[in-house]
C-alpha cells in the first residue's frame, strides 16, 4: 500500500481532487452556501439536509465537496445579510451585526463585506490546515472538556460579551438575563419536562431561533426606522432646522459613494490581528463538540476588542469588529470536523450532517476512518482547501452586487425585507405561531433598542443558555450536588480566573473613561 509520502499516492490524490466534476460541485456548493447563508432564516444545514438524498448518485469526493462548499459558503453568506440589513443570516453572524451594520450605515458596506470575506477565508484555511495536520492532538484536547469546563467557558463568554458591548455593563447583563430566560422556555434539558410554555404546544421545543433572530434584528430595525420616519414627518412642519438635520441623516444612510468604499491591502493588514485572534478562538472552540459558531464568533469579537489598540472604535463600524467574528465563525468549519473524524463525534449539527454523508458513502466516522479510507480522506482534504479559495473567489464576485443592494434606499428595501422575514420564518417550521413570535420578538427588540440595551448578549445567552444549564446540572450530578466540584478542574479554574481578571480590567477601564 502507498504511504502518504510516496509520489504515487500524492499524484493519485491530486488527480482525484482536481477532476472537473469535483471542482464543479465544490464551486456549486460554495455558491449555494453563500446565497443561502445570506437569506435570513435559511441556514447552510437546511441546504445540506435537502441535498443528502441526492449524494448517492455522486462520487464520494464530489458529494463531499458539494456539502463542504455549502457549509463554508453559508458561514460567509451570513455576514452579507448582517452587514447589509443588520439581520444575521446565520447564528454565527450575530456578532458581525455589531460593527458590520454600522459600517454600512457609515457608507462603506463593500469594505466591510470584503473584510468579512478575507477574514472568513483566512479563518477557514487556517482551521483546515489544522484539521489536516493536527486533528488528533486537538481532538485529544477537546476531549478534556466536560461539563465543568463547558460551564466555565459559557460563563466566561456570556459575562465578557455582556460587559464589552455598547450599552454599558448593567444593560449588557440585563440583556443576557433576558436571553437566559428565553432559553429556558421549552423542555428541561435534564428531566425533559416542559416549562414556561403556558400550554402552547409550539413552545414545547423552546423559543425557536429563526423568529427570535429575525424578529430581534430585522423587524425591530424596520419598526425603529418607521418610528424615526414617523417622527421626522411629525416634526417636519414644526421645527424646520431640526428637519434639515434629520433629513440629512436619513440621506446619509441611503446615499452611497462607491469611490469612497474601496478595500486595500493596508486596510486588510489593519484588521489582521483581529482576524488571527478569530482564527485561534474559532479553531479551538469549533473543535469542542456542541460549542457552536455563535460562541466562537462572540468570543473572538470580545477577545479582539480587549486586545485591540482602538477598542473605542468597536460598535461604531470598526473593521476589526467585523474581521474577528467572521474569522471566528468560519474557523469552526474545519475544526468542527476534527472530533468527527477522530472519534466519530460531530462538532456541530452541520458536522453531523457531513458525518451522515460519510456514512451513506460507506465511510464510518471514527478512529479508524483515516486508516481505512486514506486515499479518499486525503483527496477530501485537498478539496476542502481549494473550496476555501473558491469561497474567496465567489464571494469577491458577489460582493459588489450585494453592496449595491445594501445601499438601496430604505423605503424600497424595507418592505422586501419584511416580506422575506415573514416568508423565511414561516418556511422554517410551517407554523403561523412562529409569525406571532417573530412580531413579538420584533417588539421586544424595538423596546430594547430604544432603551439602548444591546441585543448581542441577549442572543448569545439565548443560544448557549440551554447548554450552560445542562453543563451545570451535569457537573453537579457528577459532583454529587457539591458546588465545589465545579472548581475541580484546572481548565475551569483557568476560565474563571480569566473571567475575573477581564471583569476587573473592563471595570477599571470604564471608570477611567468616566473620570477622563
Amino acid at each position: 500500500m502507498d504511504t502518504i509520502f510516496s509520489l504515487d499516492f500524492i499524484l493519485t490524490v491530486v488527480q482525484e481532487a482536481f477532476r472537473v466534476k469535483c471542482i464543479i460541485f465544490s464551486a456549486l456548493g460554495v455558491f449555494t452556501g453563500v446565497t443561502v447563508g445570506a437569506i435570513p432564516g435559511i441556514a447552510g444545514d437546511i441546504a445540506i439536509a435537502l441535498l443528502l438524498p441526492f449524494i448517492y448518485n455522486l462520487e464520494p469526493v464530489a458529494a463531499l465537496g458539494l456539502l463542504l462548499g455549502i457549509y463554508k459558503g453559508s458561514m460567509f453568506g451570513g455576514a452579507i445579510s448582517a452587514i447589509s440589513f443588520g439581520v444575521p443570516g446565520t447564528g454565527g453572524a450575530v456578532a458581525t451585526v455589531e460593527d458590520g451594520y454600522r459600517a454600512k450605515k457609515n457608507g462603506y458596506p463593500k469594505k466591510a463585506m470584503l473584510t468579512a470575506l478575507y477574514s472568513s477565508a483566512t479563518g477557514d484555511v487556517i482551521s483546515t490546515v489544522i484539521l489536516v495536520f493536527l486533528a488528533l492532538p486537538l481532538a485529544m484536547v477537546a476531549l478534556k472538556f466536560g461539563p465543568k469546563e463547558y460551564f466555565s467557558l459559557y460563563v466566561f463568554a456570556i459575562l465578557m460579551i455582556s460587559l464589552l458591548l455598547q450599552g454599558g455593563m448593567k444593560k449588557g447583563l440585563v440583556a443576557a438575563a433576558i436571553g437566559l430566560l428565553l432559553g429556558c422556555i421549552g423542555m428541561d434539558p435534564i428531566t425533559g419536562t416542559t416549562r414556561l410554555t403556558f400550554g402552547i404546544r409550539h413552545l414545547r421545543g423552546g423559543m425557536p431561533l429563526i423568529p427570535l433572530l429575525i424578529g430581534m434584528f430585522a423587524i425591530s430595525e424596520l419598526m425603529t426606522q418607521y418610528l424615526k420616519a414617523w417622527y421626522h414627518n411629525r416634526s417636519k412642519y414644526s421645527k424646520e432646522s431640526e428637519l434639515s438635520e434629520s433629513s440629512s441623516k436619513l440621506s446619509k444612510e441611503s446615499g452611497y459613494n462607491p469611490s469612497k468604499d474601496i478595500m486595500s491591502f493596508k486596510v486588510y493588514l489593519s484588521s489582521l490581528k483581529a482576524t488571527l485572534i478569530g482564527c485561534v478562538m474559532g479553531t479551538f472552540i469549533g473543535a469542542l463538540p456542541g460549542a457552536g459558531s455563535s460562541l466562537a464568533a462572540f468570543v473572538s469579537y470580545g477577545a479582539a476588542k480587549r486586545l485591540s489598540s482602538h477598542p473605542e472604535q468597536f460598535g461604531k463600524g470598526s473593521l476589526e469588529g467585523v474581521a474577528a467574528p467572521e474569522a471566528g465563525n468560519s474557523a469552526t468549519v474545519g475544526s468542527s470536523l476534527i472530533p468527527l473524524i477522530a472519534f466519530g463525534i460531530p462538532g456541530s449539527a452541520t458536522a453531523a450532517l457531513i458525518g451522515a454523508a460519510f456514512m451513506m458513502m460507506g465511510m464510518q466516522p471514527g478512529p479508524l476512518m483515516m486508516q481505512d479510507n486514506m486515499p479518499v480522506m486525503y483527496t477530501f482534504f485537498v478539496v476542502i482547501l481549494y473550496a476555501s479559495i473558491m469561497n474567496l473567489g465567489i464571494g469577491y464576485f458577489l460582493i459588489p452586487i450585494y453592496a449595491k443592494i445594501s445601499m438601496v434606499k430604505p423605503r424600497f428595501i424595507f418592505p422586501v425585507l419584511f416580506i422575506l422575514a415573514i416568508l423565511g420564518t414561516y418556511a422554517s417550521r410551517n407554523s403561523i405561531i412562529d409569525i406571532w413570535l417573530l412580531l413579538a420578538a420584533g417588539l421586544l427588540g424595538t423596546l430594547l433598542k430604544k432603551a439602548k440595551y444591546p441585543l448581542g448578549p441577549l442572543v448569545l445567552a439565548y443560544i448557549i443558555g440551554p447548554g450552560a444549564e445542562r453543563s451545570l446540572r451535569q457537573a453537579l450530578l457528577m459532583g454529587r450536588g457539591e458546588w465545589s466540584s465545579l472548581l475541580k478542574s484546572p481548565i475551569a479554574i483557568g476560565f474563571y480566573a480569566v473571567t475575573i481578571v477581564t471583569i476587573i480590567l473592563i471595570t477599571k477601564a470604564k471608570s477611567q473613561e468616566k473620570f477622563s
Binding site: 444545514d45 445540506i48 439536509a49 443528502l52 438524498p53 448517492y56 476531549l143 478534556k144 472538556f145 466536560g146 461539563p147 421549552g186 423542555m187 434539558p189 435534564i190 428531566t191 425533559g192 419536562t193 416542559t194 404546544r201 414545547r204 421545543g205 423552546g206 463538540p289 456542541g290 472530533p339 472519534f343 466519530g344 463525534i345 460531530p346 449539527a349 453531523a352 450532517l353 457531513i354 458525518g355 451522515a356 456514512m359 451513506m360 460507506g362 464510518q364 466516522p365 471514527g366 478512529p367 479508524l368 476512518m369 417550521r429 445542562r470 451535569q474 450530578l477 457528577m478 454529587r480
Partner: protein, 327 residues
C-alpha cells in the same frame, strides 16, 4: 354586441367547468401512491442514526413503491414536533412517522400530549436498537460482573452517562439496576455522541448507548463494551455478552418502526408494508445497511403491532413502579 358578449361568457364558463371536471377526474383516476410524494417524518436531528436509517429506507424503496419518497427531519420538543406534524396531516397514507419508543411512547406516558398510544399503527419494524454499557479501555472496571459487584458494594460510586432522560439506553440502565440491585449516578446527555465524548474524556465512568455509536471506538480499542440488554448479541459487537448470558434477567431493546396515524386506510398501510419489506430485502438495501452498521430485523404489521403493544405494557408497568406515569 351584447349577445356576442353573453355567448363568449357562456363559452368561457363552459371551458372552466370542463377543466374542473377534467382535473377532478384526473385525481380520481390516479391510484395510490401516485398523487404525491410520500413523506417519512423523523423526530430526531438530521444526520443522527434514525435519520440515516430513514434516508436509507426512502432511497431504497422509491423505485419499488413507484413514487418519490422523502425523509424530513423534524427534531424539537423531544420528538413531539414530528409526532404532531404527522397527526395534523391528512390521514391519506402519504405521511408516516419513523420513530423508536423514546419519542413516541415515553413522553405520552408522562404527560397529556393530545394522542392515545393506540392511535398509532405500526407499518413495519426496520431494526432493533440494543442498549449497550461501555467503559473506556483503561477503566478499572474489568467486566459487567466486576461493575455490578463494585457498584453494589458502594452505591453511587460510578457515574453513568446516557442519552436524554428516559431514552432507550437509559431505560436499559434502569432495568439493569432493578435486576441487580445496584445504584449508579445517572448523567443525562444530549445523545450518544456526547455520552461517548464524556466516557472518552474520563468525565463519567461508564456510558450507555447503542452499538452503532460505539462500534467504531470499540474496534479501535478505545472503549470496551461490557454488556447488552438484548436477548442476542449484536453482530457489530460479537464479543460482547448480553446481560441475560451473564445471568441477569434483563431484556430491554428498542425498535425503529414506521407508523401510520389512525384513519389511514388499511389497504394503503398494507401496500406500504409489502413494498417496504420488499425494498429492504434487496441486495442494495442490505449492503447499504451493512455499511451503516445497521442490522435489519424486519417485521410486518401484525408482528410489529404485537411488539409495540408489549412495549407499551412494559413501559407503563415500569413507569407505574417508578411513579412516573401521568396523573
Amino acid at each position: 354586441m351584447r349577445i356576442m358578449r353573453r355567448r363568449l361568457n357562456f363559452v368561457m364558463l363552459f371551458v372552466v367547468i370542463l377543466l374542473l371536471v377534467f382535473v377532478s377526474f384526473s385525481s380520481l383516476a390516479t391510484q395510490y401512491p401516485e398523487e404525491k410524494a410520500i413523506r417519512i417524518i423523523g423526530p430526531t436531528a438530521a444526520g443522527g442514526a434514525n435519520d440515516i436509517v430513514s434516508r436509507m429506507v426512502t432511497s431504497s424503496a422509491q423505485q419499488i413503491v413507484g413514487q418519490r419518497m422523502d425523509t424530513i427531519a423534524m427534531p424539537g420538543a423531544g420528538g413531539q414536533e414530528a409526532v404532531h406534524y404527522v397527526m395534523d396531516q391528512p390521514h391519506d397514507g402519504y405521511t408516516f412517522l419513523i420513530s423508536d419508543y423514546g419519542c413516541l411512547i415515553t413522553p405520552a406516558l408522562r404527560e397529556e400530549l393530545g394522542y392515545d398510544l393506540s392511535d398509532w399503527k405500526p407499518v413495519i419494524q426496520i431494526t432493533q436498537y440494543l442498549p449497550t454499557i461501555f467503559v473506556r479501555e483503561d477503566s478499572p472496571i474489568k467486566d459487567a460482573n466486576d461493575w455490578i459487584a463494585k457498584a453494589k458494594a458502594e452505591p453511587n460510586k460510578f457515574s453513568i452517562g446516557h442519552g436524554t432522560n428516559l431514552c432507550p439506553p437509559h431505560i436499559g440502565l434502569i432495568m439493569i439496576e432493578r435486576a441487580t440491585g445496584m445504584e449508579n449516578t445517572w448523567v443525562p446527555t444530549s445523545g450518544g455522541s456526547e455520552c461517548l465524548a464524556f466516557v472518552l474524556g474520563g468525565h463519567v465512568d461508564i456510558g450507555a448507548s447503542m452499538p452503532t455509536t460505539i462500534a467504531p471506538s470499540v474496534n479501535a480499542g478505545m472503549v470496551r463494551a461490557l454488556g447488552l440488554t438484548s436477548t442476542e448479541r449484536s453482530k457489530f459487537l460479537p464479543d460482547t455478552p448480553t446481560f441475560k448470558e451473564l445471568g441477569y434477567d434483563v431484556v430491554s431493546t428498542s425498535w425503529l418502526m414506521i407508523f401510520a396515524y389512525k384513519d389511514v386506510p388499511e389497504d394503503r398501510i398494507e401496500f406500504m408494508e409489502n413494498k417496504l419489506i420488499e425494498a429492504l430485502k434487496t441486495e442494495g438495501a442490505v449492503s447499504m445497511a451493512n455499511k451503516l452498521n445497521i442490522e435489519f430485523l424486519l417485521q410486518g404489521r401484525e408482528e410489529s403491532q404485537k411488539i409495540y403493544n408489549r412495549t407499551v405494557e412494559d413501559l407503563t408497568s415500569l413507569f407505574a413502579d417508578l411513579n412516573m406515569l401521568k396523573k
